[in-house]
């Protein structure tokens, strides 16, 4: 007890000035928290969220086809559980136990708080259970799995995306749902996932070109990367919406949703290229020379020796770029697309919910913040795991 007291005193009241700062901060914090709680309990009207939760999640996606989205969610949960299990193995260390508990609580309580129908509530619980079962089963079997499977697992993500898009947009045998009907979180995720998947290979290619010995490739990459990095995203989105129709042969111009997705991709690729380039620069020259001495050709040298090490180094900044990209999808609302923020603004324009800005924006902010924080925490766990793996640079 006295030890705690002494630590507190040293940390908070070491000298008069420190004490003054502490007291002022405590007063401010207390006042702020009290005002926030008072607002959330007494003044805020949360009906705006309850009444529009489906609209915010899906936009105007047609009612009879919503079962397809549940299927997509089941696919996503399976893929996440699989990846989680493969990364962590059979045990359930403390972070995993905390995540699993938080996930189950979220799936149980959030639909309850939003007043969803019982059927939907049970579906969310079933999805959480599916994810945890995959985590458990795959984690349990991991030691017995062949090594090539462990190397190939990231490939399930593009596969899940393709399957998911086929379900969302419709494919032969399913009724097509045009992109104009997608909205809310669904549209945000479709755009972000497309850009995540496409900007990565493009960025790696650009980074390799920028470090290449061939002047044409190098200068092409430099000009592209610097031009894109010099322009604000909103002007590029604007350019995509207004000029792509002029640049492509008549009638070939893609839908507004896909135009924006391509602009996001091409924009993010320039930043990913810079992150990868920093990783490439960190690979010692001796690695390349050794690979050449072993008789690998330049392509094999890059693919088998340089890139695996470079990507490992670049991982933190790559995830940082992915997080930024996710946040950047909010800009789509400025060019008139109905992403999560765009849908929220259309809800706020409804006279029935006029002036409910604070509630809606707070919920959106919490949503974005938790997604980004989860991504950052996940990347840190992955980083730690990769650091423990034997790597070529360590003796």
């Amino acid at each position: 007890m006295t030890a705690l007291w002494r630590a507190l005193r040293r940390g908070l009241f070491a000298n008069p000035l420190d004490g003054l700062i502490t007291i002022a901060l405590l007063l401010l914090l207390g006042h702020g928290i009290r005002a926030l709680v008072h607002w959330a309990v007494h003044q805020a009207q949360w009906t705006v969220i309850k009444a529009n939760s489906t609209l915010l999640a899906l936009g105007r996606y047609p009612e009879p086809d919503r079962w397809r989205l549940w299927l997509v969610l089941a696919l996503l949960c399976s893929a996440s559980g699989l990846s989680w299990g493969l990364l962590r193995g059979p045990g359930w260390p403390r972070p995993d136990r905390i995540s699993a508990t938080a996930l189950s609580l979220l799936a149980g309580l959030l639909p309850l708080a939003l007043d969803l129908e019982p059927r939907v509530r049970w579906s969310w619980l079933a999805l959480a259970a599916l994810l945890l079962i995959w985590r458990w089963a795959v984690g349990h079997c991991r030691p017995a799995l062949p090594p090539w499977l462990l190397r190939c697992w990231p490939l399930i993500w593009p596969l899940v995306y393709l399957l998911g898009m086929a379900l969302i947009a419709g494919c032969p045998g399913l009724k097509p749902v045009p992109p104009t009907l997608w909205g809310g979180l669904l549209l945000t995720l479709v755009e972000a996932c497309f850009a995540w998947l496409m900007c990565f290979p493009l960025g790696v290619l650009l980074a390799l070109c920028r470090r290449s010995d061939l002047p044409l490739l190098r200068w092409g990459a430099v000009v592209y990367i610097e031009l894109i990095r010099g322009a604000p995203l909103i002007t590029l989105l604007f350019l995509g919406q207004n000029m792509l129709g002029f640049v492509l042969p008549g009638g070939l111009s893609p839908d507004r949703v896909w135009r924006a997705a391509w602009v996001l991709t091409l924009f993010a690729a320039a930043y990913v290229a810079e992150a990868v380039r920093a990783g490439l620069a960190s690979v010692p020259r001796g690695q390349i020379e050794a690979a050449r001495a072993l008789g690998l050709n330049p392509l094999q040298t890059q693919a088998r020796v340089v890139l695996p090490q470079a990507l490992k180094v670049a991982l933190p900044s790559l995830v940082g770029q992915f997080i930024t990209l996710f946040q950047d999808t909010t800009l789509l609302s400025l060019i008139g697309l109905m992403d999560l923020l765009g849908t929220a603004r259309s809800v706020l324009a409804n006279p029935q919910f006029l002036g409910r800005n604070a509630e809606v924006y707070l919920v959106l902010a919490v949503l974005f913040w938790s997604c980004c924080t989860a991504l950052a925490l996940g990347s840190r766990a992955l980083e730690r795991r990769l650091r423990h793996e034997p790597s070529a640079t360590q003796p």
């Binding site: 070491a14 420190d18 061939l214 129709g245 923020l341």
Partner: protein, 317 residues
Amino acid sequence: MGAPVPWWRHRRLLPWLVQGVAGLGLLVLTAAVVTNLVRNLSHAGMLLSWRWLGTPAGFDLGESLIPFDASKPYWLALVSGLLNTLRVVAAGLVGSTLVGTAVGVASFSSNILLQRLARLYVALIRNSPLLMQLLFWYFIVFLSLPADQAAIQLPGLVLCRSGLYLIQPHLHLGQWQAHLQLSIEFMALFTGLVIYSGAFIAEVVRGGIASVPQGQWEAARALGLKPPQILRTIVLPQALRVIVPGLNNQYISLAKNSSLALACGYSDLYSVAETSLNQTGRAVEVVLLVLGSYLLIDLLISALMNGLNAFVQIKER
């Protein structure tokens, strides 16, 4: 020995082949883009022309540093937008540097509460989208300020829904007037940019201070210097060498982020350009002008920061 190497994999020839193919691809792409552009534009009767810049704009701006009204030409509207952008960027650079430095230094404070709050601020701000923050500042904070009659009054400062009034504010016919008046649109954008960039700059500053070896602190303490003195005379000058290159990136992204002014109704370059495009349909010209202006602003900031960088780096003797 194995089979002879095929002719196209010759050491001298291969690089030229690869570049030739890449160059040809680029050339074909550019040619296709340009021909399509010219054909589609001439089809729409919109071939490149700058004459529309001289015609009256027909729209008014929320605020302008130069006299402007709807009868003035488009080019003046765009220049006014550019000046508005430069104004908020310049103010934002100063503000975010102050906030970032304060928070970056606070994260090394011996006061646990202050240190934790600094970290919390960075974590909260960096993980939520800037556009949402701008909407928050404009719609939730600044639009709910009291009206002129019930303004918040502090010595030398008046804040109400019509704006912020600095330096000798006084009521004149029921409206506040002062030597320096800032609209709430400007204030919302400014606050949003400062708080957002401040969090990123705080991380840069923290990294810079962390890069100064612990021995420097200990040596300074052994010499009997006080903590603020150590920071000012020993640590910060060394940390600046790491901080300045990082600041360059943050300043450029602040300038680019100012283009989100549209969200809080501030007439910056981008929002004026968008209005002009919607009225004239001159997509190519407007986009070229806007992209060129932002590139120029970036180059300007980079040039200034490179000068500063040369100044703070170690002089080799």
